[in-house]
Each structure stands twice: as structure tokens, then as C-alpha cells.
Symmetry: C2
Subunit: 495 residues, 2 copies
Amino acid sequence: MKLKCKKINISTSGPLIAILNIHDADELDVTALDRIKIKKGKSSVIVAIDIANDNKEIKKGQIGLFKGVQAILKIKDSETVEIEQIQRPNSLYYIKGKLDGKELNEKEMDEIIKDLVENRLTEVESSYFVSACYRNGMTLDESKYLTNAIVRYGGHLNIGRNVIVDKHCIGGIPANRTTMIVVPIVAAAGLTIPKTSTRAITSVSGTADTVEVLAPVGHKKEDIEKIVKRANGCMVWGGVLDLASADDKLIKLERPLSLDPEGILLASILSKKIAVGSKHVLIDIPIGPEAKIKTRKKAEKLKNSFKKLGKKLGLNIKVIITSGFQPIGNGIGPTLEARDVLMVLQNRINAPQDLRKKGLYMAALLMSMVGIKNSLTKATEILESGLAYRKMQEIIKLQGGDPNIRPEDLKPGKYNYEIKSEKTGHITIISNNSLTRIGKAAGAPQDKSAGIYLYKKLKDRVNKDETVLKIYAENKDKLKNAIDICKKCKIFKVN
Amino acid sequence: MKLKCKKINISTSGPLIAILNIHDADELDVTALDRIKIKKGKSSVIVAIDIANDNKEIKKGQIGLFKGVQAILKIKDSETVEIEQIQRPNSLYYIKGKLDGKELNEKEMDEIIKDLVENRLTEVESSYFVSACYRNGMTLDESKYLTNAIVRYGGHLNIGRNVIVDKHCIGGIPANRTTMIVVPIVAAAGLTIPKTSTRAITSVSGTADTVEVLAPVGHKKEDIEKIVKRANGCMVWGGVLDLASADDKLIKLERPLSLDPEGILLASILSKKIAVGSKHVLIDIPIGPEAKIKTRKKAEKLKNSFKKLGKKLGLNIKVIITSGFQPIGNGIGPTLEARDVLMVLQNRINAPQDLRKKGLYMAALLMSMVGIKNSLTKATEILESGLAYRKMQEIIKLQGGDPNIRPEDLKPGKYNYEIKSEKTGHITIISNNSLTRIGKAAGAPQDKSAGIYLYKKLKDRVNKDETVLKIYAENKDKLKNAIDICKKCKIFKVN
């Protein structure tokens, strides 16, 4: 069938879509979500279709093409293209099989992920894959095949070194900026750590958001490789690299129902480590009532899965289970967190000791994983001698930031509000979820200097009317939003 | 957040969608597939969002609205609307629960279907419901709640009669136009049968396509009610009535993976019967290697489920298991099938006897279900006396067709091609699937007079070079397409 193109000048995410008039769709015997092949000269592209039910904008004889399709076929308006029906991709049969309880083999998993990345599956079809993995679980082999397929159809870093280390934290804990302590210490110790981080998805600040207060984070692959070769480490946003584009697509489909199949979670994390070339990976699983992992039992199960899958993938994996009952550090929000980090690296006496201790511990573990003896002593020496701070300055400079920025330069938002204790006693509960809601309402992470500063942490003694925390915002409206939320939720408990 | 509307003048099927620029989406902390509320004055609408990744067509500060949303809010171009984040609908939690293996209660099922029909669920979310029902199965109670919810959120016919009967055939068998024999017989016997049928989805012709050769089928609800009150029966296309719009949406999501969860199948069929007010339902399950149901065991299981669910729903259900090894009747395709039907009703000696016999049998069963004794004798009298034919003429006239149309007036396509037997023997296999592919390639059901005429059926003796079937098309190209397919597939076997 020949149809005349009508350009729809919008570029959307997800699979390629074309819009057919209902009469042409009937004639082609296709319906919404079916696939067609669009041919123009020697180029062709496979798209999913949607149906225009009236004859107004997409008339009989026309085909509406969004930007993605236009670009591939180099379409001019009113140009004629040839439409063909096509076979359904084999990956659909594999997904159906998985939904029916069959185990996917390497070839099948590879083809599903290839089709997913190359936009040959519609969102509905891909969501059947997610629900099959969620409902039926995944074997260790399936997780291995999935990890490898994500790596195969994603970007890579080529650092050209043998010993590359990495760390990852299963999220849910505000602040917790250990990456920014660990990277300078281990890089100063001579280890290579090309650290890529995410921006906040549901949190007040992601590591990439906080690093960005000190230096740009959106570097190209070649620049990251150069920085790491010079400084042994970096702290950049992983989004640019497209390390795991299959993973991004799966996460998007998991979100509506908050599905998080363990097999996909494991593959998601480890594929990014493999894609940067790392062989030694430290995983931090914080547990707490408001952490992602809530019980020790679940954390132990996940730890076990990480170890087993790591072995299958030829990775040296160490998993630590840590306390996730409260934020690590005092500042929450990009600027306040960056200030905490600089204070730790500069060995200031008012630096948050929990952040310092956890960062040192993790750095030491990574160092011991590659055979460095007395690693905690060595890591502490690197920190206390100022070597770690100088490494941080080097990385900030290479990433394009000001290496001489001081904690004093990092000023929180000028609108603020103090929350005081209503009675004298000890802090017994701090709610991560409430802090997250308040920090986001105050404007973080978009407003870099918005956030919360905690003057008191768990077990600290507090007097009646003493300030427990201070909320910062860049404008009055957002401060008001944050205060409104404070009134609605329990942030801490004093007993 | 306030955004300026940009009209995208396309109306698409499915849930309401708006497009946000990625910067605004970040600010709102929403991502693709999340929901937002768009407010304009006192009107508001909830939509799912997609993200424009560049700043070209949907700029920061703009929101792209498709026609459905424009219509609801009566949007003018460049008008400003207010955007709000909203809570996820509760039905998402119920769907998650079902995916986790929980049984849905009546309220939960009702809310899922309500949100589905009212476009509050995205396709991805709805597909999780389908996969949960597919993977975990549905209890009889869940099927009951689903049936009732589909009826509640769909259209209805109000015929105002107590004894309303209906029939349904689980598809897959070409021709098999028993509806057009059964309706006139039982309507002439005084039963009320407001028959709604579908158009072809994957077959050469649906009942609605074939009836349309004799009379229009796309009547409005009020007209159908009038016709049925006058003639006791009708044969219309159900699509106009929107009897089961939830069901249509679910079927669309089932198609990509050919999922067909039994609970949804049952609810899909019975909800349409309840929506037209029928209490007595005859279900025909043909079995055969190329029928939808392939084995007697599966048919018996489905029969059992129909009986049990019918009882729960207060329906009088009879299920027959019939032979689905070959087409019923000789003509395949709208015109050829309509000709067969008229020949049966006019008691012509060359009328297909299998269609006559099956139609009589089913009509008699329906009559006996409402207490008519000696129903086969009575049905036969109604057919042979010409009463059934006169009832057919009455219905054709009321639906707006020519009641005096004769079989001779129904001419197949002028391009034709005969397929002959390569040897002498008996026909031992006829392939329904091959006939379907050929009939569709020849142009049916869009080309009414395209199709196939079978001169020989199973067990018939055939000589070498004798014609077994003839393909008809309205143009040369399509005839050629059909002939090409003939060469690729086994249509029949002679032994």
C-alpha cells in the first residue's frame, strides 16, 4: 500500500510510532499496536501503529509520522512511502514463553533485549516481559543472560586498565554521599574508579546532582576516559553514556506498578559495572523501615543473589549490609551534601563523622578487595594527610569545576525554617520518607541550595525548643510548600 | 505549574495523552507514563504523559495536547492551563495485588474496569492486569465480577421482554453462518433474539460482514430496540453499541502476545449477552486442529467453566461441542456466505445441507431451552413452511435492505481461479487456516464478493482434475495474491 506522509513534528521517547487512518488500517488488516514496515527507496523502518479514528488530520491515504521515523527515512512532507505488513518479531514468542513459565535461554534473552533497545517492541509487549520476570522470577542463568545482553546493547567505557573497581548503593537513604569520599581515597591509593552515578529519581538529590554543585557531570564518553586515565577516577552522570539503555526502558515500565523483579535489579546494577570495565564491585545494602530493603532477611537474600550472579559473571563482589535508619551526614540536598563532603575531605572538626566513617570503611574494603593490606589504616592516612582532598581537587578541575571551592562558599537557600523539639529527651526515630518529601517540596534537586540540615541524629539528646533541623529553600513559595508538608508528617520522635 | 497549550491535531485511540517538555517534567518530578491533572477553569482531566526530549516542537513552558484532551477542556491554541501532580489510581494497587497472586474482590475488579473504560489506566498498566489474569488465572468469582463490571461500564439494549435468547460461537471456523439461520427460525417461533455480531478480525468474514450484504448492520441503539420489538430479532453489528468497551480494550492488549485468559474470554462473551438482556444462551464450541479450541478435553473444560459461571450470573447456558474440521456451508466470504444462507432459508435443493442441519439443530436447542417441546420438529416446520424466510425478509426490510434479494442476485467477484484435484480419491483434510489466508488475500471481507466456493467437502469423492474449489476476487491483483498463497500452502488432501 502506498501512503502519503504527514509530518508530526514531535519527538517522543519509546518505540517508533506511525498513525494510520482507520480505513487504511482495515485494508492492511492491522490494528493499534500491530507493526508495519515503512519503505522509502532503499531505507525502511519498522514501527508500531496507532489509529486515527476520524478522517480529519490523518486522512485515508495518509500516514502520520513522528520525528524519530522522519529522521530515519529522511522524509519530506507529502512524500509517498510504501507500507508492508510484517511478521511479529520472534522475541514476542519468547516473552510469551517466559510468561508461561519457561526459562529463557541465552539467545532468546539476547533477542528480547536487542528488540527492546532497537525499539522493535511496543511498551505493552515489553511490559509483558517485565511482568513475566516479576511473576515467575528469574533463574541465575537468566539474570546472567540479561546482564550480558544489557551490556551488549549499551554503551561502554574503555579505560584500558586491568584493575577497575566500583561501588553501588541500593538507594533509599537521604544524603549518604559515600561515593564522593570513596572515589578520591581509592583513586589516591592508585585504584581506578570510573564512577558513574544517577540523578535523583525519587530522592532529594542523587550523587550526580550533588557532584554537580562542585563540577559539571555531563561529560562525553571520550572526555570521561581521558579524565579517568589522568586522575584514576571520576564522578559523572551515567545518563550521557547510555550504559544500559535496555535497563532504562525496563525501569520506565516497572515504575507504574512499582515492580522491581530481583533478576532485573541485579542485571541493572551489574551491567553498568561491567560496561565501565570494573571487575571488583562493592555493594552497599542499607536496611531500615524506610530504606528500599526493609529487613535483614531480605538483605541477606539479595546479598546472596549478588554473590552468586557475580561469580557467574566473573566479578569479584563484596556486599555489605549497613544501617539505613537515618540519613548519612547532616545536609540533605545538593549544596548541603556537597558541603558535608568537602568538610570530611578537608578533615574539618565539624565534618559529619558518620559520613566520614562510612566512606573510610567502604574505601578500605575496596582497597582490600584488590589485595591491599592494612587497608583501613592506609585509607585513613590518605584522608588525614590531605591526599584524598587533593585528588578531589584534581577530579573537580578535570571535570571543569573550581578546585578551590570551600565549604564556606556553599551557601544553602536564603529562605529557611527551623523545626524545634517539643520536648526534652533523645531522638528515637528519624523518618527518611518525611525528609525526602520535605526536601523535594523545598525545591531540591532542581534548586541546588534547597534542602534540610539535621542538627540532631538518632540517639542525640535534645532539649525542649532546641532546633532539630532547618529547612532551606530558594524562594518563599517552595519554603511554604515544605512547611505545609512538615505539618502533615512525623519527621522525628523524641522520647 | 502553568503551561501554554500547543494543539496536536490528531485523535488517537486509547488513553488520553499529553506531551511535556523534559525540563517541565523534571520540575514536576514526573516521567513518561506518569499521570498529571490538567485544569482549565472548572474543567479538569487526568492524562498520562509522554516526554519530548528536545526543545523544538514542545518547548519548556508548553504542553502538547492531542484532540481527545482538547475536546474535553475546550482548548484554544496558546491557552494557559494549570498542571497538577496526582496520586496514582487505587486500581494500580489492585492490579499489583492480582499480579502477586491475590484474588480480586468485587469492589477492586469494578474499580479496575471503571478506570480502564474511563481511560485512567495507561496501556502498560492495563497490560499488567491482562498478564496477571493470564498468569494467575481467575476464580469463578473474579470472572463474575469482571463480567458484571464490563456490563456496568458498557452500553445496554432495553428490549423490555422477559424471555430473551442468544447464541455465540467460539470462532475459528470459516463460513459457519448459523446465526443467519437460527435468528429467523427462533424469531418466527416467537422468541426474542437481539443478535449482535462482530466483523471479521482475523477471519474471511464475520457475521456482521455477511449480513451487510443483505442489509445495513450499523444501527443505533434506539433503532435496534425498535427493530427487535417489531420482528423479535435482528442481526446487527455490535460495535456501534459499545456493549463491552472494557472488553474491546482488553482484547487489544491481548493481541500482541495472543494471550487469551479464560476468565477474560468468558466475561467477554457473557457480558455481551447480559448487556442485551438475554437469559438463555447457547454456546457453540467447534473443535478441530485449526479451530480456536483444538481438543475435546479443552472444549469440555471450557464448557464446564461456561456452565458454572452462567449459574453464578443467573444465566441459563447450554454448551454444544461441534465439529470444526472444515467450514460449514460451501461459500466463504460475505457474498458467497449470504447466498448459502438465502438458499437454506428458501429451501433450495442445492442449499448446503451441513449449514441447514446445524442451523436447525441450534434453533431447536434454543427453543427447547425456553420450554418448547418437540422443538426440532417445530423448527423444521418453520423452515420448510417458508416462515423463517419471511421472518428473514422482515428483518432485512426493517434493517433497511431489499427483502426481495435472491441468491441469484448475489454474484461472486468476476475474477476467479479454480483449484483442481491432482488425483482421484476422497477428501480427507481441509485446512481452515489455508482457506482463511486465501480468502483474505483475495480481498474479503473489504471486497464483499471476494472469497472461495467449496465444491467438495470432507469425505466427498473427487476425480483427478475435478474442481475442488474456486477463488473469487474483485480485481486481478488480489486474485494473483490469493493464487500465490495457494501455491504456498496445503489447502486439502485427497487419499
